[in-house]
Amino acid sequence: MIFSRTLLKRHTVLPGFDLALGFTVLYLSFIVLIPLSAAFLKTATMTWPAFWDTVSSPRVVASYKLTFGASLAGALLNAFFGLIVAWVLVRYEFPLKRIVDALVDLPFALPTAVAGIALTALYAENGWIGQWLPFKVSFTPLGVFVALTFIGLPFVVRTLQPVLEDLSRELEEAAATLGASRWQTFRHVIFPILSPALLTGFALAFARALGEYGSVIFIAGNMPMVSEITPLLIITKLEQYDYAGATAIAVVMLVTAFTLLLAINGLQAWTRARQGR
């Protein structure tokens, strides 16, 4: 984004930039910055060695691997299938389409604990789906992955949909008349236009999965070193009234997540710049 004087002075429909910015900063402070900085302040009551001991103990490190790994895998899967879902919803007409479209939002609205219990029941060894599978899903890291995929799907679909709707068919037709195969059309024409939105959706799904607790906790099995997610360890510390320890792990998650999101944002800006948009 270009921050120039002209932008600041431009006349807009909403009240002046000063007021709007003031409101934005105040609002963000109350809702985001102050609560989050409280986590940092609480952590600051620890000494460095104590902090390091807490956030680098083997059990906590194992939970980072699971949480970040499963979140990443879930977001990747969502990026792939979310694209297909969005594509079908935008490009085709079929019966009950509006209902299918509304279904996509369910993971947003459903209390996560309900989702967790439902998924656990479905994928347990005697569950509707679980009984047909040759391997265990509920109470394993795979279960964590399933839950984190479930809650992330709407982010990808809902970020891609508007972009797909704006994408004119003429581009594809032009590509076809110029002799491009379907795959070439997708790779060179459609995908570059979609990729910034796809990255955004991926980043949102990933970020959401990192902090997810309610739905995962039921399906995870919560075995130390195997299926404990990082948010569970934070809760565990709170149960021991170890506020500093809990916030220390939370801070590590926050910083890591923020860094990753920043990197993805950077990547997004780069793709967009490369396309000259």
């Binding site: 103990s57 059990r59 939002d105 947003f108 609205a109 219990i117 656990t120 029941a121 347990a124 060894e125 005697n126 569950g127 509920s138 109470f139 809902r158 970020t159 891609l160 508007p162 972009v163 910034p196 939105a197 955004t200 959401r208 906790i217 039921f218 099995g221 919560n222 075995m223 130390p224 070193m225 195997v226 569970l232 809760i235 565990t236 510390k237 709170l238 149960e239 021991q240 009234y241 170890d242 320890g245 967009r272 948009r277």
Partner: protein, 340 residues
């Protein structure tokens, strides 16, 4: 350019922010808030109705009794951080101790203010097995046999789980084995645990509905609820020795003094020891302290060897520190159990 979509997920936070001040705003008429743990909901619902009637008869005052239930440590934290509870009723003392340690809301010797360590009822940890007890599970040692699968809630997040772990450990000591052997038994048992659910009710679901595991350890007071919900497919096993879970209660001094509800709050708790209160407890499968009521309900409460946390583990504070704090004995047990 892809627009960032407005997101629906943050409602919960707003809801919370709005709900908390509401609870405090209604202080004008006389009301009491009882903050309690998860599974006492049904008991206090009945007890509140009985006490409201009793109080109106004896003092003429109409009382509104409110209850809040949830995971015990979470509830205790809420009160320590400012939820205005007049009374707190828990299933282990360290969830009340915290109100003194962190909030300065009650005196350190709160447990001495009422009879029986301030615990009007108790329960014991029992073992639920599948009908007919196909694996012949009779005591804690059987839960450590190879091939037996045991469902226990996570001791790190659940009072029920902490009691279970201490029950097995303490029973071993009561049977005369060394602390090292008790720890080895705990290790063998936890090696047999396929899922560590967050709380007691979750563990029940895993065992009763998903049919995972050969045994479930839970409170005796939970058994009727489980049978009502899932039918009679279970046998209850009373081990030779088990832990006596005391359910302590306390007035929250700072809050009742501020709200002017001390008289009502103290009467509310004292009435738990009355024959009426004890009978309601017995009906909800909580062991009454009153010998007469206990005798009347003797069938529901088989005699079993019990020990308290104070007696074997030197109190909850010490038990928490020795066993459940990070790096404590429980962490050693569970990590070693999972490595084998």
């Amino acid at each position: 350019m892809p627009g960032r979509i407005p997101m629906a997920g943050r409602r919960a936070v707003l809801g919370l922010l709005l709900a908390l001040p509401l609870a405090a705003a209604q202080a004008a008429d006389i009301s009491l808030l009882n903050v309690s743990y998860d599974v006492s909901r049904e008991f206090y619902k009945d007890y509140n109705a009985a006490f409201a009637a009793h109080w109106q008869k004896t003092s003429g005052e109409v009382l509104t009794l409110k209850q809040s239930h949830g995971g015990s440590s979470k509830q205790a934290r809420s009160v320590a951080e400012g939820l205005e509870a007049d009374v707190i009723t828990m299933n282990q003392a360290n969830d009340i101790d915290i109100l003194h340690d962190r909030g300065g809301l009650i005196p350190a010797d709160w447990a001495k203010r009422l009879p029986n360590n301030s615990a009007p009822t108790t329960s014991v940890s029992v073992i639920l097995v599948r009908k007919g007890n196909p694996l012949k599970i009779l005591d804690w040692t059987d839960l450590g046999r190879s091939g037996v699968s045991v469902i226990i809630p996570n001791p790190k997040t659940s009072g029920n789980g902490r009691y279970t772990y201490l029950a097995a450990w303490g029973a071993a000591l009561k049977n005369g084995v060394s602390p090292a052997a008790a720890q080895a038994l705990a290790e063998r048992i936890f090696r047999n645990v396929p899922v560590l659910d967050g709380g007691g009710r979750g563990a029940t679901t895993t065992f009763a509905q998903r049919k995972i595991g050969d045994a479930l350890v839970t409170f005796e007071s939970e058994v009727p609820l489980i049978q009502r919900e899932f039918g009679d497919d279970f046998d209850v096993i009373y081990p030779r020795w088990t832990v006596l879970a005391e359910n302590p209660v306390s007035v929250v001094d700072k809050v009742v003094d501020k709200r002017g509800t001390r008289k009502q709050a103290e009467a509310y708790l004292r009435h738990l020891w009355s024959p009426e209160g004890q009978t309601i407890a017995a009906k909800h499968a909580l062991r009454p302290r009153d010998p007469k009521v206990l005798a009347a309900y003797a069938k529901a409460f088989p005699k079993v060897g019990t020990f308290t946390i104070d007696e074997v583990f030197g109190g909850w504070k010490k038990a928490q520190k020795d066993h459940f704090d990070d790096g404590g004995l429980y962490d050693q047990v569970i990590l070693r159990a999972k490595q084998k």
